[in-house]
């Protein structure tokens, strides 16, 4: 019998039975159906699987399940639900929609931060943690904090710029859109 682990996931209590050394990434993707976090390398190098663990960005491919007992986990799916932002203000448990996270996602898309999108969930989760620490980061602060998340498409310039637009350091280049007709692939 696998042991059971209890933790908070995207603002709600979660309970998972599994081997202690199961990778958090697999638990999220396979057991809990949260496929937003991606596996790019499986060895903590690319950062595509980054989630917040007690508000710290971590590579979920390197986190064994037993380590999340009692922890607060936020994935890309739950980022805009408010848990991460509430924790930053010392209000664990509060669940107001996190407008800052929503705005980060919107600006990131508008300013060309996402191309293929495979690094994007890890990138956005990491930037959310950056902004909690540095509300108006310099380019060197972004460079240092986010350098553990690899992107092969953008050359990072549009990612820098998205953060700078979001924090009022640069005018927007992309047009804000009322809505988008998504391409359905299923």
């Amino acid at each position: 019998m696998s042991p059971t682990y209890r933790f908070t996931l995207n603002g709600k209590p979660a309970e998972v039975a599994g081997p202690p050394m199961a990778r958090l990434l697999d638990v999220l993707r396979r057991d809990l159906g949260l496929t937003g976090s991606k596996e790019g390398c499986g060895e903590g190098e690319c950062g595509a699987c980054t989630v917040l663990l007690d508000n710290q960005p971590v590579c979920s491919c390197l986190v064994p399940l037993f380590q999340v007992e009692g922890a607060v986990i936020t994935t890309i799916e739950g980022l805009a639900q408010g848990q991460a932002g509430a924790l930053a203000q010392g209000q664990a448990g509060a669940l107001a929609p996190d407008e800052k996270a929503t705005e980060l996602q919107r600006v990131f898309a508008n300013e060309g931060g996402a191309q293929c999108g495979a690094c994007t969930p890890g990138m956005i989760v990491t930037i959310k943690a950056l902004l909690d620490r540095h509300p108006k980061p310099t380019r060197d602060q972004i460079r240092e904090y986010v350098s553990g998340t690899l992107c092969r498409c953008t050359g990072y310039e549009r990612i820098f710029r998205a953060v700078e637009v979001l924090t009022g350091q640069r005018p927007a280049e992309g047009e804000p859109a009322a809505h988008s007709d998504e391409v359905s692939r299923t």
Binding site: R29, L34, T35, G36, K38, E39, G40, C41, G42, E43, E45, C46, I76, E77, A80, Q105, R106, F108, A109, N110, E111, G112, A114, Q115, C116, G117, A118, T120, R139, I142, R143, E144, S147, G148, L150, C151, R152, C153, T154, G155, Y156, E157, R158, I159, F160, R161, R170, P171, A172, E173, G174, E175, P176, A177, S180, D181, E182, V183, S184, R185
Partner: protein, 802 residues
């Protein structure tokens, strides 16, 4: 239509848009694009997949519901060259596992690409490490992998041929025969007379290594069998992370000998490609489909990163030799170029890669006498295939370094020798192509110079180097490159492909874009919406894009070769205009107006009596006649020819132009290079989406810089030593300079609204500009990349000794 003026001239004034990337238009006539009526093209609107990607909702192959699918695993060769003596699967005791070897593939055991020499499973011998030898399928991935480990393959090792020098001595597979997978030669003028008239003659040899694509999403496919009433295998449905659904369709149709309708290929959201998902999806789809036929279940294969790096194709290593004759003022009079590519063990796409390498090898320079010889040689290394730039980055690296050598020998600065020889309108290329329009080599160079104060700063760095004290302070350098890249297939490629693009007015009154062009990050879907919206005269929200699906879209050709916007976008613009024309005629008929008096613009049918919303007319049309389809098929440009026997004629319909300026600081003790600033100037014609276009340029140029100084595939005994993300280093944010991205817009008549291709151009000029900057900083001239600290150190030692 009003505004369809035959000639529209743009002022050459520059405008900075939204405080970001600079765009400027070069005064030039364009013949058919009514740009003053564009409502969507030219705007940085939200990409259709943007919100799904930033919220984690976009479903990539490994995110799709598995619905009880089985899993495949691959047994691979550990030898670069060996005979297979036996394959023993008797230790596999899992009752449900199935094992396939070459004998189970059937008579057509090859990836059906250009030549049928690339086995789906090795038959009797292996020609490279990582070559697929056997396949296993089981209900879970763990069981499939466990079974794969129990399969014993007995080999008799043979002497491998591992690099170009060894390959020049003979064929690694057949022994003794000339070892050439493909050849391509071009000649113009009288080269011997050119050298006789030269005042200075210089020789150089330049080499480049493998490059891994390192898309963040590894390869993956899911194959679902179609079974007849008797349970027999009658067809296959493949979903995959891929660039070219019709390539996979063709490969599977050939493999199984089934009709077109029996095979369906769809693209899942694809996490990067860069060429790496052009050829190899044929292989992995064939594997999954064969396993699916064997077990009667849907089968998924997703590569882990290490398997992806070991198994899939890479950029061709190259060795290019130059002999160049010049006048003392720097004018080129003769070029003799020898291009050698390492093709790896099988032909894959090598002939076409070589062709593009050869056609770009004399650079963006006019020279009356040119002789180019190109060859691809076979080695016992994993096959090399498509990678952004497709041979051109290798040959442009060589010619740009050679031009630096010319400048040094003549005492000119690198900018001066480039501007003297750069193509002008009216010049003729080595294939005899007259460059009639949209030629921007001089414009991009001049803009790069003024944006960076290149000449002064290059000279200042040279002075600082001469006066340098050993004080441990970083050495500063600046380098420039100029380059060109042909948009679309080479020569008669488009004529042979005869691609189709279609649009459909659906019953829900949306106009749907139907093409096989895939979006693997570049923004294809969004850009096609913009092009079709403006071609039809409707609002952006009236246009939707169908996913690439061989059961639903026509064959628009593969998504490669910088052809998506210019060629397929052009087809869609024509299809859209046809559809609008039908609706306009219908609207005129309904209202008793002459068709010529009705205009469809920005979502309204307009006459001098008033206007009607597009959807009202569309609704009436669909109610009376049902959905409306319009298709456009490729039409060659009148008067344009290319002779494949002599390699003379119009090699490409249009060219993009670029100049890069790279600035570096180099630590004098460790020789670690830091790139401090990157300035790019690109002309890709009229820009459809400025933010995404800049994103292509920036991302592509960083890949080029990575290839230039960081990315090195180390190989020993035919095996890649650094086959993981932890050991194969691509640029991180910490390695990335601030970028200034300047888009000059010099429209072409060959693309929709004046647009040319952008995808590959940015890969072409980063590496040579970087090496020139390193030389400017250190005085060390390297002719091989990547310019690692070890390589700079070795060159420094060699210089001190001599």
């Amino acid at each position: 239509m009003e505004g369809c003026a035959s000639n529209i001239f743009f002022a050459s004034a520059e405008t900075a848009v939204h405080g970001g990337s600079t765009r400027s238009r070069i005064g030039l006539a364009i013949k058919s694009a009514p740009m003053d009526h564009l409502n969507a093209v030219g705007r940085s609107v939200l990409r259709p997949d943007g919100l799904a990607k930033v919220t984690g909702r976009a479903l990539y192959l490994d995110d799709l519901p598995e619905n009880g699918c089985w899993h495949g695993a691959t047994v691979r060769s550990a030898h670069p060259s060996a005979l297979i003596l036996s394959i023993d699967a008797s230790a596999v005791t899992d009752p449900e596992a199935r094992v396939l070897t070459a004998k189970d593939v059937g008579p057509r055991n090859s990836v059906h690409l250009i030549h049928d020499d690339w086995p789906i499973l090795a038959d009797g011998r292996v020609n490279h490490v990582g070559e697929p030898v056997a396949l296993v399928v089981a209900p879970t991935l763990a069981r499939a992998q466990a079974a794969a480990k129990l399969i014993k393959v007995a080999y008799q090792a043979q002497t491998p041929v591992l690099d170009l020098d060894a390959a020049l001595k003979g064929d690694p597979r057949t022994g003794g025969r000339e070892n050439v997978l493909a050849k391509c030669n071009v000649q113009r003028g009288d080269v011997d007379a050119g050298f006789a008239a030269a005042e200075v003659i210089l020789e150089g040899e330049y080499t480049t290594g493998h490059q891994e694509h390192a898309y963040i999403e590894p390869h993956g496919v899911l194959a679902t069998p179609a079974l007849g009433a008797d349970g027999a295998f009658v067809g296959i449905d493949v979903v995959g992370s891929l660039q070219c659904p019709y390539y996979v369709h063709k490969a599977l149709t050939y493999l199984f000998g089934l009709g077109d309708d029996a095979i369906r290929v769809r693209q899942s959201t694809t996490g990067g490609g860069f060429g790496g998902k052009e050829d190899y999806p044929d292989m992995i789809a064939a594997h999954a489909a064969l396993l699916s036929r064997a077990c009667g279940k849907a089968v998924k294969i997703v590569y882990e990163r290490q398997e992806d790096i070991i198994a899939t194709t890479k950029r061709h290593p190259s060795r290019v030799r130059h002999r160049t004759g010049v006048k003392r003022d720097g004018t080129l009079v003769a070029m003799d170029i020898d291009v050698l590519l390492d093709g790896g063990a099988y032909i894959t796409l090598s002939p076409v890669v070589l062709s593009r390498a050869v056609l770009h090898s004399a650079g963006a320079y006019s020279c009356p006498n040119v002789r180019i010889r190109g060859r691809v040689l076979a080695t016992n290394t994993p096959p090399n295939g498509a990678f952004r730039g497709f041979g051109a980055p290798q040959s442009l690296f060589a010619v740009e370094r050679q031009m630096d050598k010319v400048a040094r020998a003549l005492g000119l600065d690198p900018f001066a020798v480039r501007i003297r020889n750069a193509y002008r309108e009216g010049d003729i290329t080595p294939t005899g192509q007259l460059l009639k329009e949209s030629v921007s080599a001089v414009a991009v160079l001049e803009r790069a110079k003024s944006a960076t104060r290149f000449a002064e700063r290059f000279a200042a760095n040279e002075g600082a180097r001469a006066a340098r004290k050993d004080d441990g302070k970083p050495m500063r350098g600046i380098g420039v490159s100029v380059f060109w890249h042909g948009s679309g297939f080479t020569g008669n490629g488009e004529r042979r492909m005869m691609s189709k693009g279609a649009v459909r007015l659906r019953p829900d009154l949306k106009i749907e874009v139907l093409s096989s062009s895939t979006d693997f990050g570049q923004g294809t879907e969004g850009i096609f919406r913009q092009i079709v919206a403006d071609a039809c005269g409707v609002a952006l929200d009236d246009v939707v894009v169908h996913i690439p699906d061989t059961a639903a879209v026509p064959d628009s050709g593969p998504t490669v070769a910088s052809r998506t916007v210019m060629v397929v976008g052009g087809l869609l613009a024509r299809a859209g205009a046809k559809l609008a024309e039908t609706l306009r005629t219908f609207a005129a008929h309904q209202s008793g107006t002459a068709p010529a008096a009705v205009v469809l613009s920005n979502g309204f049918f307009e006459t001098d009596r008033g206007r009607t919303p597009f959807v009202d007319v569309a609704k009436r049309y669909v109610t009376l006649h049902g959905p409306l389809d319009a298709v456009a098929t490729f039409e060659p440009t009148p008067g344009s020819t290319f002779d494949e026997a002599t390699y003379q004629g119009d090699a490409y319909a249009a060219y993009g132009w670029g100049a890069n300026v790279v600035e570096v600081e180099i630590d004098p003790d460790t020789f670690i290079t830091r790139v401090t600033k990157l300035t790019t100037v690109s002309d890709v014609g009229h820009v459809v989406h400025p933010v995404m276009c800049a994103g292509q340029v920036e991302g592509g140029t960083l890949q080029a810089l990575g290839w230039g100084y960081l990315e090195e595939m180390k190989m020993k005994d035919g095996r890649f030593l650094n086959d993981r993300m932890q050991t194969y280093l691509i640029p991180t944010m910490a390695d990335t300079p601030d970028m200034e991205t300047i888009l000059l817009e010099n429209p072409t008549t060959q693309g929709p609204f004046g647009a040319k291709g952008v995808g590959e151009l940015p890969m072409d000029g980063g590496a040579p500009a970087l090496l020139q900057a390193i030389e400017n900083a250190t005085g060390i001239s390297l002719s091989a990349i990547p310019a690692t600290p070890e390589r700079i150190f070795a060159a420094s030692r060699a210089r001190k000794r001599s």
